[in-house]
Assembly symmetry: C2
Homo-oligomer: 332 residues x 2
């Protein structure tokens, strides 16, 4: 069985997998990210070569796809901005990998790779057009149109975390204010929790903070599940913010499926009800419905659904990248 190799390079973890053309993960390698970039690249390339070597008997390695966090210049393969990989700015990532491996690699933004993963093997596998929303340290996104990643004029498409949902809201690193990232990312949940504690309106959160909790999305989710009203309100606020973003996307693109993944999506039960209610009120004509995982969507409706691949979305999507390049070349 021939295969490709996908790499998911995150701020803390480096994950590598060999994936066959049916989407099956044949073998995987996990490593931590030593925060010195040359060592990371060396380790990545050694692991890729070792993996390809081990699988040589069973098939040929057909290509390599790498997902990285940050803004990539698609033409040059440089990483322009990467808050989660300090020291990697303006580093020719693609060129450095290609030089060591002696072969072409396909470089992609991590949220775009995750979108491709969920489109190929996850919650959006029945459709050709979809949008992925990743709720992590920030809010990221990837848009797939006609089965391919929509990059836009210079590869900046999909920065949906910077859609405004509150004109005079919290200042954002991007220079704007009130971006959805300021209300629905893990960072935003923590900030809103601290604000609630400071305002004296969240005794349960104050207690958790005193007891050493970091008020991360996991702690907040547990508190919300236990009925803590302040924690529940924070998730409702996140849900409404996501809904304002989603309603704009629905009215603009009329995609059949929107998939919500990333770490914070584990708190789905806490934010989804408020999100669905608000999308229903704000999106033009169509009702937003949550379809059971992987169900064929009804094309009269818009489906907003939780991602199904979890941490593997970016990894599987990265492995898919060289397959799509090959498909495009064949059809030309």
């Amino acid at each position: 069985m021939n295969f490709t190799i996908g790499v998911d390079l995150g701020g803390t973890n480096l994950r590598i997998a060999a994936v066959d053309s049916s989407g099956k993960v044949l073998e995987r390698v996990n490593a931590s990210v030593v925060r010195e970039r040359d060592a990371v690249i060396e380790e990545m390339c050694a692991a890729i070569l070792a993996l390809a070597g081990r699988l040589k008997a069973s098939g040929q390695m057909q290509g390599i796809g790498v997902g990285v966090p940050g803004i990539i210049d698609l033409a040059s393969g440089m990483l322009h901005e990467s808050p989660n990989l300090p020291g990697w700015e303006d580093y020719p990532v693609r060129q450095e990998i290609e030089r060591r491996l002696g072969t072409r690699v396909v470089l992609e933004n991590d949220a775009n790779a995750a979108a491709l993963g969920e489109k190929w093997m996850g919650a959006a596998r029945h459709v050709d057009d979809m949008c992925m929303v990743t709720l992590g340290t920030g809010v990221g996104g990837g848009i797939i149109l006609g089965g391919q990643i929509w990059h836009g004029a210079v590869g900046m498409a999909g920065e949906i975390g910077h859609i405004m949902v509150e004109p005079q809201g919290a200042p954002c690193g991007c220079g704007s204010r009130g971006c959805v990232e300021q209300y629905a990312s893990a960072t935003a949940l923590k900030r809103m929790a601290r604000e609630a504690v400071a305002a004296g309106t969240a005794p349960g959160l104050a207690r958790a903070l005193k007891e050493g909790g970091d008020l991360g999305s996991k702690v907040l989710f547990d508190l919300a599940a236990q009925g803590d009203e302040a924690a529940r309100e924070i998730f409702r606020r996140a849900g409404r913010a996501l809904a304002m973003m989603l309603a704009g996307l629905i009215n603009t693109l009329n995609l059949p499926v929107y998939v919500i993944g990333g770490g914070v999506s584990a708190a789905w039960d806490a934010f989804a009800p408020a999100m669905m209610e608000e999308v229903r009120a704000r999106s033009y004509v169509f009702e937003a419905t949550a379809a059971p995982e992987g169900q064929q969507p009804n094309h009269r409706n818009t489906v907003i659904v939780k991602a199904t691949l979890g941490n593997d979305a970016g990894l599987v999507g990265a492995a898919r990248l060289p397959m799509l390049v090959a498909d495009t070349q064949k059809s030309n």
Copy 2:
């Protein structure tokens, strides 16, 4: 010279033109819209046949495209919702025209047709991907990707007038609140002017209203040009609202060109400065620049530019519709 026929059916005017493959208007017919739909369809079909007959000597009629205001079911060719054409709801427009003419016609939403017109012969003629914003009674939009209209799952894409710019803002007919249509359409300008008069903060507008002005965008623009502060603030508000919508589109789609047309775009000088300033602050990475009309955009920038075809955008775009269908069939 072979030609197609484009029809722009509006709430008050019916405009028909024969256009050749270079985009040249060979002949045009204008008629008023008698508000009884069967009579309008009869008149339209008679005018199309007469026009094709007159041009018979010079070339063959290759197809007919019709732009209509409202929401079209693309599969059935029915008009679902059409505030500007009362009585046309759930009317099989395409079928009725085809029956009378004995030939296929391509039906399209008017803002999508205008987008196609500006992409083919207007301000976006140098690019394949663009977004058209029409500022009229409402705020409409059309998105062109890869040279083709992006319809979305059920033809509802491009409803950018219902992107939210003020979470608790003015209620909108779509069921949401604070849609950009409530701040940047001709209707919204009038409402904001009336609100300013009622608040007693706009002596100049109050005077104009007393003297029989309707506080339409033309009257407001003249007042703004004469330095009336209340009128100027209304246009600044419209500009900022448009910017919030545009910044979201830029961050999501990273299109090279956004074209702003429709009646209110005549007041460009009054709203564009505030719009450009706000887009610059709110859009991720790229600076918004106004390019001189029709100039080749710099791909590192996002170009936001006034439409160049004026009232003809929808008409020319409608004539383009059958040409694109023919192209798609050829390439398949």
